[in-house]
């Protein structure tokens, strides 16, 4: 699963235990830091990336089963 604009991760933590892997993109450095700092034990399958969508698309080589845009389109 890919979440675009994950902010400080407040929504990510609500669903992450229901999916096998999450890539969460957040271009804002401060929000990204907060998300990393608040990572809960057992959520190592969540990868937070300090990237916007455009930069991620350039680097990415995989496909996702689900993309989430929450207040980020």
């Amino acid at each position: 699963m890919l979440e675009i604009g994950s902010g400080d991760g407040r929504l990510t933590w609500r669903y992450a235990d229901k999916v096998s892997r999450v890539s969460a993109l957040e271009p804002d450095a401060e929000k990204h830091k907060t998300a990393l700092a608040e990572r809960l034990r057992g959520f190592e399958h969540v990868e937070f990336l300090n990237l916007g969508l455009g930069e991620f698309v350039k680097r990415n080589k995989e496909k996702f089963d689900l993309v989430l845009l929450s207040w980020s389109l």
């Binding site: 969508l53 990415n60 089963d65 993309v67 207040w71 389109l73």
Partner: protein, 136 residues
């Protein structure tokens, strides 16, 4: 926004899904919950966020028309932000919603209600659209 949706489409396997959640663009309300029901305080103003919400709707519709996505389900829900007082909500908005504007008449209404009923919880009510779209 259409370009972003086109990029997202390249990241999805055919038949995979996109969930989009964004406010529907209607004015956001300040509410004061009383025993007899919610009292309307006033509307929050935004400089330009609401325009982006309408643009988001248009962009999603455009990608459906061009055949990138099909709508599986869509709906709306209430999104409430709870604060212990109007001042706390003002501080929260200043720190987290830079586009928000609280007009003087709304502040005056909130103060009047607090004088009549005492300081108590205040709600910010947004109406939010949610859509499940399938990549074609």
């Amino acid at each position: 926004m259409v370009h972003a949706l086109e990029q997202i489409h390249t990241l999805l396997n055919p038949g995979s899904y996109l969930i989009d959640i964004h406010p529907n663009g209607e004015l956001v309300e300040f509410l004061y919950p009383l025993d007899e029901g919610k009292q309307f305080i006033g509307y929050m103003q935004e400089t330009d966020d609401y325009i982006e919400y309408y643009q988001a709707n248009d962009a999603l519709e455009a990608t459906v028309v061009t055949g990138l996505f099909e709508v599986v389900k869509s709906g709306e829900f209430e999104f409430l932000t709870h604060a212990d007082s109007f001042d706390e909500l003002k501080t929260f908005l200043k720190e987290n919603w830079s586009d928000s504007i609280i007009t003087e008449d709304v502040i005056a209404n909130a103060r009047r209600l607090e004088e009549e009923h005492g300081k108590r919880k205040v709600l910010l009510h947004e109406q939010v659209r949610i859509g499940l779209l399938k990549a074609v």
